[in-house]
């Protein structure tokens, strides 16, 4: 395991915490969204169950980084969650778009109003992150045939692309009614490009810029959390009927993903 610590924890312990955090956000998002549709399909419980398993496994691994059994557990939970996410994507695509009136001809409509198409893939990403983390905790320097930092930078590139796309769709649906809604399309896009760059052709200049962009993305995520809370308050009845607005308003945890994805990039830089 890499010996450098940050705030008393090793980088992969941090990744385990980030795995737990992102999974928790995505799991709650799935819970809220599927509750809103009254769990019409039994499969809608799947992300909640596998997600919970991954959260527990990741937390255990963060607290006890050494026991191989816990590493193994995290890896299994990761694969399971990743598979659930893929199946979920199929469901969201099929039931959320293809079988709806008008089907794929109304793609734009259902991207905005059908089941959020990229959300299950977020869960897949969290699962893969769990697998990478387990590998790192077990002392591996490479994963999927890639050096650890490169793997993390590629990972960040992909998940940022997904998060930007999903935020883009939903902020478009909200007609960018607040200029701050353009934020996820700006800084994180640059961070995404820098991340790809770092994976393919790293240099100290890019690395410095990447670090700055990641911190800015992280900050934007925190601001986003505040803005989403404000967005909830701008729904009919505001915070007074917070529970209904939790179901109708902006997804409360979503900006947290930008925090998580940026933090992974920072861990990657740390590992260089």
């Amino acid at each position: 395991m890499t010996p450098i610590e940050f705030l008393g924890l090793y980088p992969f312990q941090w990744l385990a915490i980030i795995t737990a955090g992102t999974t928790l956000l995505l799991m709650i998002d799935a819970l809220v969204g599927h509750y809103r549709r009254a769990f019409a399909y039994r499969m809608q419980y799947a992300p909640v169950i596998t997600g919970a398993a991954l959260v527990v496994a990741a937390l255990l691994a963060a607290i006890f980084p050494h026991p191989p059994l816990l590493n193994q557990l995290l890896s299994w939970a990761g694969w399971l969650t990743a598979a659930t996410g893929l199946i979920g994507f199929g469901y969201h695509f099929y039931y959320g778009i293809v079988t709806k009136p008008g089907g794929l001809k109304w793609l734009l409509h259902y991207l905005m109003y059908g089941a959020p198409i990229l959300a299950p893939l977020g869960l897949t990403a969290a699962g893969v992150l769990g697998v990478i983390t387990a590998r790192g905790l077990a002392g591996g320097n490479a994963v999927f045939g890639l050096a650890m930092p490169v793997a993390l930078f590629l990972f960040v590139t992909i998940v940022l692309a997904g998060a930007i796309a999903q935020a883009g769709i939903l902020h478009y649906r909200g007609a960018f009614n607040n200029p701050a809604m353009y934020a996820p399309l700006t800084v994180p896009s640059l961070a995404m490009i820098a991340s790809a760059w770092m994976a393919l052709a790293p240099s100290t200049v890019v690395r410095a810029a990447f670090a700055v962009l990641l911190w800015m993305t992280l900050l934007a995520g925190f601001i986003g959390l505040g803005m989403h809370l404000r967005g909830l308050d701008r729904e009919m009845g505001g915070l007074y009927v917070w529970f209904s607005n939790l179901l109708e308003g902006p997804p409360q945890g979503a900006p947290g993903l930008f925090i998580a994805w940026a933090a992974i990039g920072l861990v990657g830089i740390y590992l260089l």
């Binding site: 709806k100 009136p101 001809k105 109304w106 109003y113 478009y172 007609a175 009614n177 729904e235």
Partner: protein, 553 residues
């Protein structure tokens, strides 16, 4: 204090506002204003607000109250009849128009307080119907004296203010230069039926542009899909004139005087309007509001009635009526509705009545169908009291049979058309010879008969709607006839002998009198009218500003 002082002090300085409070505003009752607007509806609100912002002193009078959405609007079909103009009117002709809930509102916001919010632009060809369709026996439709392009910037302006929620790509009409300000709404179950049916039949169908928020805007929350839009929106998501242009007008220093029924427009010996005489609630005295210009915006029945009631020695046939065209060429839009029963629950009342989908595929003159003009097909969502009446009139059900069918209310889904109607000189609004209203003013006598072309168009639409509902899996299809929207009684035109107002909505006969509501349409279009009425009002405001600048008023 005179009675006038008491009434003015109590009501003019303020109007009921949010949470039973009062909205402070200017009081122009004792002064001569630059502009007095009669009617605070779709057109009056727009023209009044824009002129106030341009620096004119403006008072807008409305016969009905200044509503407070939170306390005045009740989510109850029956209690909401107060939103409609239900004063006595006499109807006649071969196809008498049912007046009231379906075509005219009363109170600040006018009909937009309870309208269905479908916000469509007319198509370029609607402005040139006479040229394109040629002359037709027994019909007298005219080209508009202006083109679509003249209104295009005003459509954009009004859509922006109302924050119309519409699709990214709208397939009909002239391609848009700018995206709708907000995104389309989610489809409700009735709209799903339309989309499903059209998809099966290969008929293009698109999200419907509507005037209710799909995202927060300023201090207004997005729509929560309660579905009580036709009874006054209590959440302010609906972009009625009451919550859009009226607050703008007040901020700019206009006075909105509710409960003020205008009885007559006064004029001087030179034939210029000098103001209006109006009744205030609680008094049978006539109050004078002096004004340098008067704008009539009372909609296609009340506007001509007011002009006819304002006859004087200089204008024996009614104000601005030297052409004899005031009240003539009255038009409606055909709005036949077709319903079918489904095996699944539809809950047709949920979400705004337009549901979120529309097809304008038939909104053009089609070859080989035997009629000119076109129509749109829209989603509708009547509430139970309205629906039970339709079941009685449209299906002839009564008693136990009606009760049993109503148990399936939640499984019905319906479509409605908005169809162009031919203009005809025999269709008119005139003063009734004997009947008077509560103010002692002669009531309107509204005469209407369909043209054969209209009947063929309605038949075509009924067949298409039936096909769509059946393709979507509906059974027991039945239809109910209705008419909606009013036009044409003060038509605009270039020829003073054949029209009441010119292209700027200025009366040919009275230079400081304008009429800019639905009554100026020289022909009916195949789309719901409010956006065109509002765009026209926005243009009229700009034209008045130009004229004032040039000293031509």
């Amino acid at each position: 204090m005179t009675q006038q002082d008491q009434i003015m002090a109590g009501w003019s300085l303020s109007a009921p506002g949010i949470h039973g409070g009062r909205v402070p505003m200017r009081d122009w009752s004792r002064e001569e204003v630059d502009v007095c607007v009669v009617g605070a509806g779709a057109s009056g609100g727009v023209v009044g607000a824009k002129l106030a912002e341009a620096g004119f002193s403006v008072v807008i009078l409305d016969a009905g109250p200044h509503w407070d959405p939170m306390s005045d609007f009740i989510s109850d079909e029956h209690a909401s009849t107060k939103l409609f103009w239900t004063d006595e009117r006499i109807t006649g002709g071969n196809d008498p128009v049912e007046l009231g809930s379906n075509n005219s509102g009363r109170g600040v916001g006018g009909s937009t307080v309870h309208y269905s919010m479908v916000a469509l632009r007319a198509h370029p060809h609607h402005f040139r119907r006479r040229t394109l369709e040629g002359s037709i026996e027994d019909a007298d439709h005219r080209d508009w004296p202006l083109a679509f392009e003249d209104l295009e910037p005003y459509y954009e302006e009004v859509e922006e203010e109302l924050q119309i929620a519409g699709p990214t790509f709208y397939p009909w009409g002239k391609p848009r230069r700018r995206r709708y300000p907000q995104r389309e709404h989610e489809l409700n179950a009735s709209a799903n039926v339309l989309v499903r049916g059209c998809a099966k039949l290969g008929i293009p169908v698109a999200p419907s542009p509507i005037a209710t928020l799909s995202a927060p805007h300023e201090d207004r929350p997005p729509c929560v899909y309660r579905g009580f839009c036709n009874f006054g929106c209590t959440t302010n998501a609906k972009s009625s004139i009451l919550v859009t242009y009226i607050p703008r007008a007040i901020r700019a220093g206009a006075e909105i005087r509710g409960n003020a029924m205008v009885a007559r427009i006064t004029h001087d010996s030179h034939g210029r309007a000098t103001g209006v005489l109006h009744f205030r609630k609680g008094s049978d005295e006539l109050f004078q509001q002096r004004a340098k210009s008067v704008i009539v915006a009372g909609y296609a029945i009340e506007s001509p009635r007011l002009l006819l009631n304002s006859a004087g020695s200089l204008f024996p046939e009614g104000l601005a009526n030297s052409s004899g065209r005031v009240g003539k060429y009255f038009m409606v839009q055909s709005s036949e509705q077709v319903y079918a029963k489904f095996t699944e629950r539809i809950n047709q009342y949920k979400a705004p009545p337009p549901g979120g989908a529309i097809t304008e595929h038939f909104n053009r003159t089609m070859p080989g169908v035997g009629f000119v003009g076109g129509y749109t097909i829209e989603v509708i969502g009547p509430h139970p009291v309205d629906f039970v009446a339709k079941m009685a009139t449209g299906r002839g059900l009564w008693g136990e049979g009606l009760r049993r069918e109503m148990l399936d209310y939640n499984c019905f889904s319906g479509l409605g058309m908005v169809g162009a109607v031919m203009s005809n000189v025999n269709n008119e609004v005139k003063l009734h010879e004997t009947e008077q209203d509560q103010y002692g003013l002669p009531v309107s006598h509204v005469i209407f008969s369909y043209h054969d072309n209209d009947k063929r168009l309605i038949k075509h639409a009924r067949e298409k709607m039936t096909e769509i509902l059946q393709a979507a899996g509906g059974e027991d299809v039945w239809s109910d006839h209705r008419m909606a929207h009013l036009f044409g009684t003060c038509r605009m035109g270039l020829d003073p002998d054949d029209s009441v107002v010119n292209v700027d909505c200025r009366a040919h006969d009275v230079p400081n009198l304008f009429i800019c509501d639905g009554s100026v349409f020289p022909n009916s279009t195949g789309v719901n009218p409010s956006l065109t009425i509002q765009a026209l009002a926005a243009r009229t405001a700009d034209r008045i500003c130009d004229m004032a600048r040039r000293g031509e008023l």
